[in-house]
């Protein structure tokens, strides 16, 4: 942490950047909150730990930020997935790489509040403590110990890029030797089920959607100035929370982020009704990986899967 503060102080002092977007302590247990650090004094507010859930790069695209203040050069603290979003923005011409300064931090995974809440059966969590591989969760009348990995976000458990693939400064030691279980196990397991079972699950799950668009707005890859659901001339889809309308929203959103989703899981954490959003996004990611051998945000010199063509691509989906 001290190294991080020192580095950020340095680049702010040298006027290398106008602002550094990082995490500060949030108002709830297990929460960090995005902060915009412009002065050396504010640098002390920066933190980095397992609570730093948000993918802050979502603030880099102009239409998301929509604040009147215009920064010329932005510093941003990035975990692996966040760094991949910056690569995505660069290859998609949304930002110029030289206009952002990336400060990489070694990530051991971040907490998923929803999983924590399930661990303690919905009881309110007031404090926590990490003890090597365990987490001690405290509330008004309880204290429970659970394996640390049970509290981490699902994407973190199969993350192959905990270290930022793209960075200008790296604080601490990269994790390098990452050995992860099969990232597509959940998708393969789900695929084993019958079509009826899968459809029933998807319908049940997405019928809970309240159309608040938290998933879309927190998503770094969703940066359209005007989303198709916000268009009303013509109006593409119904606006009700009925499952038929909601499913179409989620299907189209997922197709739109095909080959662009970095699996940061921000949508899952943001969802106020705990939808299983990765059941769709991970499936699309897998398809892109298998058909185009492409993983979003890992190579700044590679053209995006959906913006390039090569002759030897599998085309069985066209010919049936």
């Amino acid at each position: 942490m001290q190294q991080l503060v020192k580095k950020v102080k340095e680049i702010i002092k040298n006027k290398e950047v106008d602002v550094v977007i990082g995490w500060g302590r949030g108002s709830l247990p297990f929460s960090a909150t995005p902060i915009f650090v412009e002065t050396e004094k504010d640098v002390e507010k920066l933190i980095f730990d397992e609570t730093c859930r948000n993918n802050l790069t979502t603030y880099l695209t102009k239409d998301k930020r929509r604040i009147s203040k215009e920064y010329k050069k932005i510093g941003i603290i990035v975990k692996g997935c966040d760094s991949r979003s910056v690569v995505l923005y660069t290859v998609e011409n949304q930002i110029k790489r030289e206009n952002v300064v990336l400060i990489g931090v070694p990530c051991n995974g971040v907490f998923e509040k929803k999983k924590l809440s399930q661990l303690v059966e919905g009881k309110e969590i007031l404090d926590f403590q990490i003890d090597v591989d365990n987490i001690i969760i405290k509330g008004r009348n309880f204290e429970q110990t659970h394996p640390l990995k049970d509290a981490l976000c699902d994407p973190c458990l199969t993350c192959q890029y905990p270290d930022a693939p793209e960075y200008d400064y790296f604080i601490g030691t990269p994790r390098k030797d990452v050995n992860v279980p099969d990232a597509y196990k959940m998708i393969n397991d789900f695929g084993e089920k019958s079509a009826e079972e899968r459809w029933a699950y998807i319908q049940e799950e997405y019928s809970k959607c309240i159309r608040c668009y938290a998933c879309r707005n927190i998503c770094p890859s969703c940066y359209c100035p005007e989303c198709f659901v916000d268009q009303n001339d013509p109006q593409w889809i119904g606006k009700t929370p009925e499952v038929t309308d909601s499913i179409i929203f989620h299907l189209i959103r997922n197709l739109h982020v095909a080959g662009r989703c970095v699996d940061c899981g921000a949508c899952v954490s943001a969802c106020p009704v705990d939808l299983d959003l990765r059941i769709m996004s991970k499936k699309v990611e897998k398809e892109i990986k298998e058909r185009f051998d492409y993983t979003a945000g890992t190579d700044i010199n590679e053209k995006p899967a959906m913006a390039s063509y090569c002759e030897n691509e599998k085309q069985d989906f066209i010919m049936g």
Binding site: G26, S27, L28, P29, S31, A32, T33, P34, I35, F36, N54, T58, Y59, K64, R65, R66, I67, S68, K69, K114, Q118, G122, E124, L126, R140, E204, E205, K208, I210, R211, C212, Y213, A214, R216, N217, I218, E226, D230, N232, Q235, G238, K239, T240, P241, E242, A266, S269, A270, P272, V273, D274, L275
Partner: protein, 349 residues
């Protein structure tokens, strides 16, 4: 007062169901929300505050206003029984009183009857509200900032306390008293019960945060409309509608037509001032095109505009928006920030 054994709650709920459609906190997916129940066994007891507010019982997220076809116009009428809501906490009960000022009361309109919302009234007017004492407020609760209390009875028809093995019911409104007098199967309450209630109240109150004096908020809001504080507050907001949709008092709506050929319907849907499209005009111009302007609108509506119109703040301190905000934009901190803000123009408050 009527005392009911928890194990005998189903008998009471069945009695209630003779005259009412009963809604109560229940499992909806992994979350708790209010839904229509068929038996007392669906009631989710071990919660303090449902994740979604009960406003959609009376003001559904999507509601058909009328349907049209070659046969003419059809306006839906409520043919079912009146609504009873079990298990409401006082933050939610108070929110209904606020919403009723908008939809049901129309006291500030020149022609009162004309501006009453029939869709709200057909559900709300004959409803029976069971306001349940909140034994264990959450760390995100701040009802005491708004003169609320976990054991407040304002807006209740019947006040309910969960004392462990029993529910103790007290008729508050005439409607509530009349209903309770018809139920003969309950036990008599004793002094021990009353002591228990007092003790529970004391414990619940001890969980509440320190009171913040929010009376000056209204005046302060009047003066900070074009101050830079809004940029600071809104910088991290991503403009999703999570806060407005879980809020028990947010009530902005949109009207949408769905039709094909000669058949169709007009529906009313929740809308959110956080969305760009909320204010976008047909020309393409958007008077609230910036995130800053939209965040200001939400906060101003809650702590200034509503006070102007209805002499109270549009917030009950239920803390749901604090819990769901994906970027931890904590409305309690916004209130404190505004109260502490020093005006840049040297204006005296």
């Amino acid at each position: 007062m009527v005392k009911i054994k928890k194990t005998e709650l189903n008998e009471f709920i069945e009695f209630l169901m003779k005259d009412y459609d009963v809604y109560s906190p229940a499992d909806v997916g992994k979350k708790a929300a209010f839904k229509k129940i068929k038996s007392a066994f669906e009631i989710k007891h071990a919660i303090t505050n449902t994740h979604l507010s009960p406003k959609d019982v009376f003001f559904p997220q999507s509601e058909v206003l009328f349907q049209y076809s070659d046969d003419g116009l059809k306006v839906p009428k409520r043919e079912e029984k009146a609504i009873a809501v079990w298990g409401m906490r006082n933050c939610d009960t108070s929110s209904l009183l606020m919403l009723n000022k908008v939809f049901g009361d129309a006291h500030q309109m020149p022609d009162k009857d004309m501006y009453k919302d029939p869709y709200w009234k057909m559900k709300y007017d004959n409803c029976l509200i069971f306001n349940q004492a909140c034994n264990e407020p959450l760390s995100t609760c701040f009802c005491n900032w708004f003169e609320g209390n976990p054991f407040a009875k304002k807006g209740a028809d019947i006040f309910v306390v969960d004392t462990g093995d029993h529910f103790i019911l007290e008729g508050i409104s005439d409607k509530g008293k009349t209903f309770l007098s018809k139920y003969k199967a309950g036990e008599e309450t004793t002094k021990v019960d009353l002591n228990k209630i007092a003790k529970l109240k004391e414990t619940a109150e001890s969980y509440l945060p320190d009171v913040v004096d929010i009376k000056p908020l209204f005046n302060k809001m009047n003066k900070i409309w074009d101050e830079p504080i809004w940029e600071e507050i809104s910088a991290k907001c991503i403009n999703c509608g999570a806060c407005t949709f879980v809020c028990p008092t947010c009530h902005c709506f949109d009207v949408s037509d769905e039709g094909k050929g000669k058949k169709g319907q007009r529906i009313r849907l929740w809308d959110s001032c956080m969305f760009q499209i909320f204010t976008r005009e047909a020309s393409g111009h958007n008077p609230r095109g910036l995130s800053t302007q939209r965040v200001r609108q939400r906060i101003m509506h809650k702590y200034n505009y509503f006070m102007d119109n209805y002499e109270q703040y549009l917030c009950t301190g239920c803390g749901r928006c604090v819990q769901v905000c994906p970027v931890n934009l904590d409305i309690r901190e916004v209130i404190k920030k505004v109260l502490d803000y020093k005006l840049s123009k040297n204006e005296e408050i």
